[in-house]
Symmetry: C2
Subunit: 222 residues, 2 copies
């Protein structure tokens, strides 16, 4: 099982300029710098307070250069959703690679997701804003992650590693529970210095994994 | 088991005016009208495009009257979150009342949640906007729903109806999976005329309930 393939990470469209031309290595690095700045600016200020000037200032890149890469604030916002989404799937797939069975893959995939959440708190905020700024991007984000789960569940079901579940519905359920547990036990937690934990508390993670394992394990129907 | 009590619906603060005075029956009706209009305006336009004038116009209520009830756009937004939250908990608790056991209560509670989601698509959008407009309201919304689940799960665990789960973690997991399944299979579904379904497809609902039942059922630990 290739988790990278399940999560659609094999055929990545190369980054391009605002005019749709392929980027040089240097161009790609500048585009990445703009996206990194956008991640912070959108997360800190929200879409409406954010501006192209604030993004270019934070990136240390001239305003004119911005427009070589993106047409508008909305364009860089959408590119940011695509980029964060690709990276969170990468983080999950990388963690899952080589797992000996579905249960270990599940455990590793969620650990990858929560690690990314801790490192990129912008993910949740940007996805929530997409509801208003660009609803297609909200759908793209969830749909692409679900697709990775679904593919893995289908194979596990065929191999008899999970009971006869609907892989699509189950994939949405798993993503939903991971999302809210990540919000509650990573994003909402702060220590005395205001720092977020780097991972979910082990006891919470185990509870979640047990719930999933019981929910999916093959067994006599009741 | 009183679901209404679990969901904290026994001690409701009475609605008050902007100055904090209790409302007459007529005053309460006007306040409700403003909240109903706000639900549509915030859901249709988003917080930033919404305005007090648009809310009062939709409600057919004078601008001056608005300020007898709410101080600002933010104040009515926050009151709307509190109101939608109270109503979705009411919808869940009402559906759960009298259920003979935890499994039936779960089934009824989710049915109540999805019915409310179908009737009030604003719920999701308003909660997502709260991330930026009023983060405390986002927390309040989730925390109050979780509290109802948690209380029910604790009793079910004590009665041996569910295995030895952490009620708090499990409550967040259940809310998460319900939220995303509601988004995917109610809010995102439209028929040819653009209308949303009134409930979740039965097959999807059954998959979800089976997953939860398997996840929670008392059994030998593996």
């Amino acid at each position: 099982m290739s988790a990278a393939e399940d999560f659609g990470l094999e055929d990545v469209e190369p980054a391009s300029s605002a005019a749709g031309k392929p980027l040089t290595k240097r161009g790609a690095a500048t585009r990445t710098k703009l996206l990194e700045a956008a991640e912070h600016v959108f997360a800190d200020l929200g879409y409406h307070e954010a501006s192209i000037v604030k993004i270019t200032e934070r990136a240390g890149i001239g305003l004119g250069t911005f427009y070589l890469y993106f047409d508008s604030k909305q364009a860089i916002f959408e590119a940011l959703v695509v980029d964060l989404n690709r990276r969170v799937r990468h983080s999950m797939a990388e963690a899952m690679e080589g797992a000996p069975n579905r249960i270990e893959a599940e455990r590793a995939g969620f650990a990858g997701f929560f690690r990314f959440t801790a490192q990129h708190p912008a993910l949740y905020r940007v996805v929530r804003e997409a509801e208003f700024v660009s609803p297609e991007m909200l759908r793209l984000h969830y749909t692409r992650i679900v697709e990775g789960y679904r593919a893995g569940l289908e194979k596990a079901r065929a191999a008899g590693e999970v009971r006869d579940v609907d892989p699509e519905v189950t994939a949405w359920a798993l993503m939903g529970l991971g999302e809210l547990l990540g919000m509650r036990y990573i994003l909402w937690e702060r220590d005395a210095d205001g720092n977020r934990p780097e991972a979910m508390p082990a006891a919470v993670f185990e509870q979640m994994i047990q719930f999933i394992n019981h929910g999916l394990a093959p067994r006599e129907e009741q």
